[in-house]
Amino acid sequence: MIGALLSSPALASIGGAIEFIFAPQDSSVTGGRQVGGFDQVVELTLSQLELTLLALGLSLLVALPLGLYLGHRGTGELFAVVLGNVGRAIPELALIAFMAAAIGVGVLNLTIALAVLGVPPILANTFVGIHQVDRATVDAARGMGMTEFEILRKVEIPLAVPTLFAGVRGATIAIVATATIAPLAGVESLGDFILGENVYGSNGVLAGAIVVALLALTLEFAFAGLQRLLTSPGLKLRSA
């Protein structure tokens, strides 16, 4: 059983992909140049990470204040939800091509295109997280003489941290996975391996996918850790 598994073509190609990650390989279309290998993997991973963080930053800049404001006011639920759903339906490649004519291709184009993916989950989760805070708690805070801003900062946001982070983590996964299309708009990323099967071979395609998955998991764990740090002890106790 295990022997059959090990000799299966799927596992054999995983072996090839891992080799591709660590050592440059021959390619039939490059006139003798070798492709892949650790240096190129690291370079493309960093480029993909940079683009992901830029797009995530822009999503947060747009969605977080808006979500906090609407959630605190308790209005605009329809807006937040509709925008959230419509945002998911925008075809990225069409958006990139559309912006290419206006602002050209490159980091700016991709940052905006990828932020479009990040805004909906952050906005929806921020809105829901803030809005769902027990109104009695908010009234009590108000009764204690807190200003509206203090209520948001000291009561609502701490209580909304888990929901809010679920949005940020969802946005991160969507952005880091989609950043593989960056080579179609003038920026290097791990997508170079995935889009360039003629150059990198099927080992390269699989290697690209594996590294993207690892990068996504790393970011997911990092944000989970950050979430634990930021969640108030009281809330952890309650949910435990």
Binding site: L184, G186, N198
Partner: protein, 327 residues
């Protein structure tokens, strides 16, 4: 009186229909005569009921010209009586060749030059310049792996370094060699695979000795957009691009004086066993409908899809009809 009028109209319509029919037949013969010499056929494709037992899946790579070719072959084979499905937009040549080998598709159109450089490890300068020679060499290689390639189309396509007429005038560029000394100031845009490919940027660097200010990769569909919006000084284009004839005063290609970009005629690649099973009509139909595909016709079809936004299916159908292959 009423009956008579109806009859009169009927007769008129019949006469009109007959005239059109005769005219259509006439044009068939003309087109056939003009475009097909070798097999002497050229007329409409005849449906053979025996072919109904054979199912074929026609594939193509993922850009308009390929999808048009895939549609032309698929629709022609359907007209010949085969049960035809199409699976276009397969991705790169590596994916398409794998799909033929695994039987996922029956066959797809490939450029002979691409087959030789991408599959069979030939350097661009080793690719025979004549269509027949390139096909024979590619076919011999395909035969070794159980595949076969049908004879080439009249038109050939190649990569080319393109630029705007303004840039060409500014730097006095006519050939790729003219880039020597100025390429360091110029940006080059091409597909994500381009930097590594010997028939793309790698060849420009190694065989022409050029260095560029920067290279940026873009989707093939944006190759003119980046020139138009002024981002790219140079962009990798295709010699069959309709933009080159439709917008002659805007874009030019630089002559490939050291032959880094081998021109490739299209050969239809299929599995030998599929070809045997499908019978002689398979190859005959494909060779018949591609007879009319010279450079002007292919550019016109590319223009209908890329500039006029017809679907590849519509463009292929109108080609088959106007050339008289289908009714």
């Amino acid at each position: 009186m009423r009956i008579k009028t109806t009859r009169l109209w009927g007769a008129l319509l019949l006469a009109l229909a007959l005239t059109l029919g005769v005219a259509a037949c006439g044009s068939d013969d003309d087109d056939g005569g003009a475009t097909t010499e070798s097999d002497g056929g050229g007329g409409a494709i005849v449906s053979n009921p025996d072919n109904g037992k054979v199912s074929l899946t026609i594939g193509s790579k993922n850009f308009p010209e390929q999808e048009i070719l895939g549609e032309i072959y698929a629709q022609a084979l359907a007209a010949a009586g085969y049960k035809v499905k199409s699976d276009l937009n397969l991705g790169s040549e590596t994916v398409a060749r794998k799909a033929v080998k695994t039987g996922e598709i029956s066959g797809y159109p490939e450029y002979a030059s691409t087959a030789l450089t991408s599959f069979f490890g030939k350097e661009p300068e080793e690719v025979p310049a004549d269509a027949q020679g390139a096909w024979e060499e590619a076919n011999a290689e395909f035969e070794k792996e159980g595949l076969t390639a049908f004879e080439p189309t009249p038109f050939a396509s190649a990569n080319a370094v393109g630029t705007t007429t303004e840039t060409a005038e500014k730097y006095d560029l006519e050939t790729v060699s003219d880039l020597e000394g100025v390429s360091e100031e110029l940006s080059l845009y091409g597909s994500p695979e381009c930097p590594q490919r010997i028939d793309c940027k790698a060849g420009l660097e190694e065989l022409y000795g050029l260095k560029f200010k920067e290279f940026k990769s873009v989707d093939i569909g944006l190759r003119y957009t980046v020139l138009e919006n002024g981002q790219a000084d140079l962009s990798i284009l295709f010699t069959t691009d309709p933009q080159l004839s439709a917008e002659k005063d805007k874009f030019v290609i630089l002559e490939d004086d050291k032959e880094v970009f081998p021109a490739g005629n299209v050969i239809f690649v299929t599995e030998k066993s599929v070809a045997e099973e499908a019978g002689p009509d398979y190859e005959e139909t494909i060779l018949q409908v591609q007879e009319g595909l010279d450079l002007a016709v292919m550019q016109e079809l590319d223009a209908r899809v890329e500039l006029e936004k017809q679907t590849p299916k519509e463009a292929a159908a109108s080609y088959l009809k106007s050339a008289g292959y289908t009714g």
